[in-house]
């Protein structure tokens, strides 16, 4: 993480957007592809020299793969290193495939240990093992590779500044200076005892403010927040966001400092987790990326579609059960999409709010009843409005036995909206209770549950009122 970015020449200043960053767009990729076609290596390098690493990564991912591979191999090693951390995991692994271990090691050398570990983790294991011994930070990276990727241990880096807690600020300043060149983002100094136990957290600003002769521990925060290596990354994100932390120390079970997590890593986690939740809600498993192969995509989606097919078959069975009713009044079929669509819509609305509350930690299990109460009031009101509209609609466009049909549909609509809203509000709590991700409440599974309940209610009411 840096407060600004490395200097670039200003060759294409006129193409820059409002932020001062060069705009990476389809025009630029087309130009570069044309230059590659014409084997204009110098001009390509001149163009990309001007890009920030994140933009260069975006550009590579929009080039045909063989071109991306060529451009990447042309980059100066320092530039290639920076680009590496910005690439999509699968795309990066593909770019590095069959590269000599020595070259990969050279690219990983300037990276922080957490980034180097991430790159290695996506390589085939035997390749990673060949690269590892060539790294300067091999022992640290090796240690980091043992933590699951989605935990605090998997997020943390071994780059931090720690000093004995009784040290004076002058000496601490010298140590910060000595490390500052190699550690990009020094916001705090950690204070430890001789057993590596974390004793305090000292913001670097505080060091500048304190008179010479002050002991580090006397100006440090001793009531700091830390996490153990096994904490889930989603929880890490919540903690750093909730307490507005830029740097979070990670300790082992016995309280020894083993690493630190910086806010930039967590920003990525927060976005990744939001995307994962949305995918889960949409019936896509396995963190599908834009780079995923069609096989991977299909593998992530087909199971949900099969669940959906099974569920929809049950809904079909409900209709089959009432086939004689349908034969008597085929007009009832006309309203099947209204029953299913409206139930689905109402359920997704209440589920979205409940899932968000549970995911962010603002809603607790104990809130289930009060949440449900509020949702029921809303459902009653919305249900009455919709039921009234539907009745008017039927009365206006008179189909079959008009007043009875209107009554049937009105009562059904009210019942469906109330039941579906209840489902949407309650199911996420139940899933959380049983240790499942509440976000899955919005997948095809629950939509189908609503169809089944809605259709059953519809035909039962139709039998009672209409036929």
């Amino acid at each position: 993480m840096s407060d600004a970015t490395p200097p670039k020449s200003a060759v294409v200043k006129e193409e820059r957007g409002p932020t001062g960053a060069l705009e990476v767009d389809a025009e630029l990729t087309d130009n570069i592809a044309a230059l590659l076609e014409a084997e204009q290596r110098g001009m390509v390098l001149n163009l990309v020299a001007d890009l920030y690493p994140a933009d260069l990564a975006l550009l590579l991912s929009h080039l045909p793969f063989k071109y991306a591979h060529v451009v990447f191999s042309w980059l100066p090693p320092d530039k290639a290193s920076e680009v590496l951390t910005e690439l999509d995991d699968a795309f990066r692994a593909a770019l590095l495939r069959e590269s000599p271990p020595g070259w990969i090691a050279r690219l990983l050398q300037p990276l922080d240990t957490d980034d180097a570990t991430d790159v290695l983790a996506d390589l085939p294991e035997d390749e990673a093992l060949q690269v590892l011994p060539n790294l300067r930070d091999a022992p640290e990276v090796h240690d980091l590779m043992n933590y699951p990727e989605d935990t605090a241990g998997g997020l943390m880096a071994a780059e931090y500044v720690a000093v004995p807690y009784e040290m004076g600020v002058e000496q601490a300043t010298e140590i910060v200076r000595a490390h500052a060149e190699s550690i990009d983002d020094v916001f705090v100094v950690f204070l430890i005892d001789e057993d590596q136990q974390l004793k305090g957290v000292l913001p670097i600003k505080q060091i500048m403010l304190s008179p010479a002769g002050t002991r580090a521990i006397d100006i440090a925060e001793t009531d700091f927040i830390s996490v153990t290596t096994d904490i889930d990354q989603e929880e890490v994100g919540r903690i750093m966001q909730r307490y507005d932390l830029v740097s979070l120390p990670v300790v082992d079970e016995s309280g020894r400092l083993v690493g630190r997590i910086t806010i930039d890593d967590v920003v990525d986690v927060i976005r990744a987790e939001a995307e994962e939740d949305l995918q889960l809600m949409s019936g896509v498993s396995g963190d599908e990326s834009l780079m995923a192969s069609t096989f991977q995509i299909s593998r992530g989606r087909l199971p949900w579609l099969l669940v959906g097919l099974f569920g929809a078959s049950l809904s079909g069975t409900v209709i089959g059960t009432f086939e004689s009713a349908l034969e008597e009044a085929v007009v009832l079929a006309t309203f099947i999409p209204i029953v299913t669509a409206m139930g689905g819509n109402a359920a997704v609305q209440s589920a979205a709010i409940t899932v968000q509350g549970l995911t962010s930690g603002e809603l607790w299990e104990g809130d289930a009843l009060s949440r449900l109460g509020k949702e029921l009031v809303v459902a009653l009101f919305n249900g009455i409005v919709l039921a009234a509209l539907l009745c008017v609609f039927v009365l206006l466009f008179g189909m079959g036995n008009v007043p009875r049909l209107a009554a049937t549909l009105g009562v059904t609509m009210l019942a469906v909206i109330v039941l579906a809203t209840t489902n949407g509000a309650v199911v996420p709590f139940l899933l959380q209770r049983f240790g499942l991700d509440p976000a899955s409440a919005m997948g095809p599974f629950v939509t189908t549950l609503n169809d089944i309940i809605g259709l059953t209610v519809y035909f039962l009411i139709a039998l009672a009122l209409y036929l």
Copy 2:
């Protein structure tokens, strides 16, 4: 933003979770409610004294409102200030309602100008105008209030350290020291000329590293990223995330420094925007919060339900059009939920991925065709698997004219999956093209579009193959 948090006493250490933070849960709120019932002011204050501001805010939002109001009014002003910035907007406005302007001003005094502005913006205008003159930073806050809340201008704070760009590092250090007490998070010093034009960004670490006598501009980054005040907050979030910035300078149209945005504000924006997108996808408008009144909730949801009802009526009309076909073979009704549910599922899957790509900026308009191509391959494969399964299902449980029904359903399923997937992949691009939020592709509107297309295809194929 701080690197750690203010010290707290350790009264209830044993109730702390893995992070060292006191766990705020239903048990704690129950205890506090009981103490309030018994008017044990001292004990309540003793308990909450030990909480981090964010946790205290969470606790207040879980107490009955009258109790929350009492506890808030008991808090020492400094604590109340810190809690204020962590509260939900609507809840905060309710807590402050009818408080004397002088007291509100006192609570706002220690806050950064961006936070003070946010609090004022949610108060009724006449109340805000009464508070404003009492603030030390009244002119800055007044200026900030002129920017729309969801722009860079609305996010930025007037707290930053700026020095003339030719100043030496010793003098710059003195200025940083002088400001460090009042500005929590000094990560960088901005370098300006006599016209307040931003010339460079100097990380504070760099100051510590440089020998005396160095000119600030010579060690600063002069090719920095900045935004103008009118840039949308979502774009600000993307920029700070993409370029890993902790502090982003904001300039006016003529390049004069007017404020800076810190990463902690952007973390909140990223989460808020993700929540807003999810709500939009779920058919909830107006950024519904857990604190929203049932009237507000209903107002945000009912319009979408009405759109859904209108759309579903069109689906119903499709069925109505084919009523004679249904009368001939009422078994066709049984498969209506399969057609609608599967189309909806497939569309939501492809829409989710496309919307994410467009929202994050990884997918461009020019990618529409290649994206569609990939989705079609997936749709064909998944469609064939599902069609085959459905055929087997019909053949096994034989209903009506078995082979023809199986053929009808197989062809329909394949067509519906392919069409719905296409919709899901294409509609977000179209919405973006016309300046609309691609996320709305997943709302009730498009689900219904799928129902209409799916049912039409179904009955047409049934007429051609089955009847």
